[in-house]
């Protein structure tokens, strides 16, 4: 059983409040491009929403393949997070992730993936439709 976020995507209305609070708490700005949750309303079948985020999968190839060993274990949670100081922004994790769960920040200097806000994910708190759970 993975320890990451879970989503009932069929309930999602695409409002992106999760992405807003995520960027606010992590970079102090409202900026979905720097969020760890990517919300995409799909085109050309409008009305469908795709959520991309790190599920904290058991196989975690990102951890195995990271040449800088910048994806580290949060021992308390048993989950992995990106150490932005050590990440070189090489993009290997993005390449190997089977779930489109991580990506590079807009300046391409480090990888972004869900760190569960250290234990109390803000996105779960703000989601008005109860889409997200742990």
């Amino acid at each position: 059983m993975s320890k990451g976020l879970k989503a009932e995507v069929e309930k999602c209305t695409g409002c992106q409040l999760c992405a807003l609070v995520c960027s606010a708490s992590h970079v102090g700005k409202f900026n979905p491009s720097e969020s760890m949750m990517n919300v995409m309303d799909l085109y050309p079948e409008p009305g469908e929403v795709k959520l991309s985020y790190c599920t904290q999968c058991d196989e975690h190839p990102c951890v195995e393949e990271c040449p800088a060993e910048a994806i580290k274990l949060n021992e308390a949670l048993g989950t992995y997070y990106v150490d932005r100081e050590e990440c070189t922004g090489c993009g290997m994790c993005v390449e190997v992730c089977p779930y489109e769960g991580c990506w590079l920040d807009p300046s391409e200097s480090y990888a972004i993936k869900c760190d569960l806000c250290g234990g109390t994910p803000q996105c779960i708190e703000v989601c008005p439709k109860g889409v997200l759970k742990r």
Partner: protein, 615 residues
């Protein structure tokens, strides 16, 4: 500065294909906030009076505001501000979706465009930079295809597009600007202004973000407001379960549902187009705009029959009224098709629905024939002919399509034969779906709306036809219009969505949290008063006065036939009484012009000094 604003305005000289960036006028921002107010201030300054709205000299601007792109719920909108080719008045028209926040993230509070591009073009805005690009691959294409192709061209699958379809390209005065496929800045013909400038679209993608002074405190407050004031707000319950289509039954009951070109206030087929029909027959899922905890939108898709596969977000109440009952259409599937066609081609569903209802009326009266309609049997309720009309209008096909593309009033004037009397409008803008003959305050609301007949400036119908008030008493109606026009003026300057039932105190709290500036209800009222007076001064400068603040003769002379409104009309003396009272409340003269004192008291002394009638 972390105050919600990006601080930058993008200037676009389309004629010379040049762009530049200038700092936002922060003095004006403090007085007018953003959106409607700030856009109006810039437009008043920059537009030469008497300018033809479809000439290169018209100024076309897109405005956000300090709250847009933050976590303040229901502030995803943007305003297009220009002079309307439909009414000749000031025009502010809004769309939700995702474009507004994206423009902020791309680095701009506003984009102001002048001139006319030498060839079909689009504007690409990305992280503080802008570029005018060749639109040859998308000119002539519909909205759906345009959005898809432009995302490919700029190489950003999450880029947001605000653009026009064929209707705007062909300068239809009822063409809107569409973003996110179905979100329309519909009213007033902003799409034609795009078209007249050879501008297909503005495409935005940004990663610069928006900052506020104290993020931690802000998030705490926003989370609390989201839960208590949005998700758990009882005012929003109907929007969560149904959205605006719930109003169809309310209007049928109040007998104010426009039916067969306003010849009735009740429609025997209403159950085929109401919220229950929508939910049972075409509903797919709920859809939100950016940052919205309500999600009033419904994705609808037709499951079978002649219109199988047609889909739209909505249809909203106004579409169900004007393009449903007012055209005698009794099946939700047909309305979904009509709305999809309007989305695809870039037409305002209110004006297009009203125009088709009018055309059906004069077809049935024998004033136009199959020769004018390209062979279509344009009778009330003929779904097949009806569903073809958006394309006829947008592409200006057949004589009637070409005429209706000019808006219903201009079409009637060209047709002659007394058909103008059948057009239900104020200042050339077709009425939304609330018949004043069963909500007398709406006659005043439509007559005094700054962009022509409109339901988003004052909505007295809520307290009379839908509430406990007396729908035919003039008492207090001027005061409702006055008070709501002030409130909407500041609400639209903050670019809130209409559907957020936020209190003035709530709005002030948000404003302060985002900008760091103090605010309270009385300050907001001062801003709203200033904005509405400024826009009125703009319209007076364009030649508008009391003579234009009117209702169509039919509202007085043609009583409704059934239900609660049977035998009811709007007596002329009642209308005149409300209007006189309204001018008094606003401090305008007998001809409806703001006095020098009124302007000075609203902080518009500099504007007063430049108005000829005050010299």
């Amino acid at each position: 500065m972390a105050d919600g604003y990006t601080g930058n305005v993008l200037r676009v000289d389309l004629s010379n294909e040049k762009t530049s960036v200038e700092p936002l006028n922060r003095e004006w921002a403090k007085e007018f906030i953003g959106g409607k107010g700030l856009g109006a201030r810039y437009l008043f300054e920059e537009l030469k009076p008497g300018t033809d709205p479809l000439s290169p000299d018209n100024v076309l601007s897109i405005w956000t505001g300090p709250l847009v792109g933050t976590m303040v719920p229901l502030t995803s909108r943007y305003a297009i501000i220009t002079k309307s080719p439909l009414t000749g008045t000031f025009l502010d028209t809004y769309a939700g979706g995702y474009f507004g926040p994206e423009l902020k993230y791309a680095g701009f509070d506003a984009v102001i465009m002048n001139g006319k591009a030498p060839k079909p073009s689009y504007l690409w805005v990305n992280d503080g930079k802008a570029e005018i690009r060749d639109a040859k691959n998308v000119w002539g294409k519909d909205i759906f295809k345009t959005e898809e192709l432009l995302r490919e061209e700029v190489g950003e699958k999450a880029a947001r597009v605000a653009g026009i379809g064929q209707a705007g390209e062909k300068l239809s005065r009822i063409a809107g600007v569409t973003s996110d496929i179905t979100r329309n800045a519909g009213r007033g013909g902003a799409g034609a202004v795009f078209g007249s400038k050879n501008l297909k679209a503005v495409v935005a993608k940004g990663s610069l973000g928006v900052e506020v002074p104290k993020m931690d405190e802000f998030v705490k407050m926003a989370k609390e407001m989201l839960l208590k004031d949005v998700v758990e707000n009882p005012e929003h319950a109907g929007l969560v379960t149904d959205g605006t289509p719930i109003i169809v039954d309310m209007s049928q009951d109040a007998a104010i549902l426009p039916t067969n070109n306003w010849h009735s206030g009740q429609f025997d087929g209403y159950q085929g187009i109401d919220s229950d029909a929508l939910k049972k027959r075409v509903f797919v899922r709920k859809k939100a705009c950016f940052g919205c905890g309500i999600a009033c939108g419904s994705w609808a898709k037709v499951k079978d029959g002649a219109f199988k596969g047609a889909s739209t977000e909505g249809p909203e109440y106004e579409t169900l009224g004007l393009a449903g009952s007012n055209c005698g259409i009794r099946n939700i599937e047909a309305v979904v098709k009509f709305a999809e066609e309007c989305d695809r081609l870039g037409l305002d569903t209110i004006s297009a629905g009203a125009a088709v209802g009018f055309a059906m009326d004069i077809y049935e009266k024998g004033i136009i024939t199959n020769e004018d309609t390209g062979g279509l049997e344009l009778k009330f309720g003929n779904e097949e002919a009806y569903a073809k009309m958006p394309e006829m209008i947008a592409e200006r096909k057949s004589k009637i399509g070409d005429l209706l593309a000019e808006g219903t009033l201009l079409a009637a004037r060209k047709i002659g034969k007394d058909t103008e009397k059948l057009v239900v409008h104020a200042k050339g803008s077709e009425y939304p779906a609330y018949d004043p003959r069963g909500s007398i305050g709406m006659a005043l609301a439509y007559a005094t709306s700054d962009r022509g007949a409109d339901h988003n400036r004052a909505w007295p119908v809520a307290s009379d036809a839908y509430g406990d008030g007396d729908p035919w008493s003039t008492e207090g109606k001027a005061a409702i219009c006055h008070e709501e026009q002030i409130m909407k003026s500041y609400k639209w300057s903050m670019v809130f969505c209409d559907f957020y039932g936020v209190s003035p105190e709530g709005m002030a709290k948000y404003y302060t949290a985002v900008t760091g500036q103090p605010a309270d209800e009385s300050w907001l009222v001062a801003v709203g008063t200033r904005v509405w007076n400024l826009v009125r001064a703009f319209n007076v400068r364009e030649g508008f006065s009391k003579k234009d603040d009117d209702m169509p003769e039919r509202m007085e002379t043609e009583p409704l036939p059934s239900g609660k409104t049977a035998g009811k009309a709007v007596p002329r003396e009642s209308f005149d009484k409300m209007l006189a009272e309204y001018y008094q409340l606003w401090g305008w003269d007998e001809d409806g012009r703001p006095t020098k004192k009124t302007l000075e008291d609203s902080g518009l002394g500099d504007i007063a000094a430049r108005l000829d009638y005050l010299k």
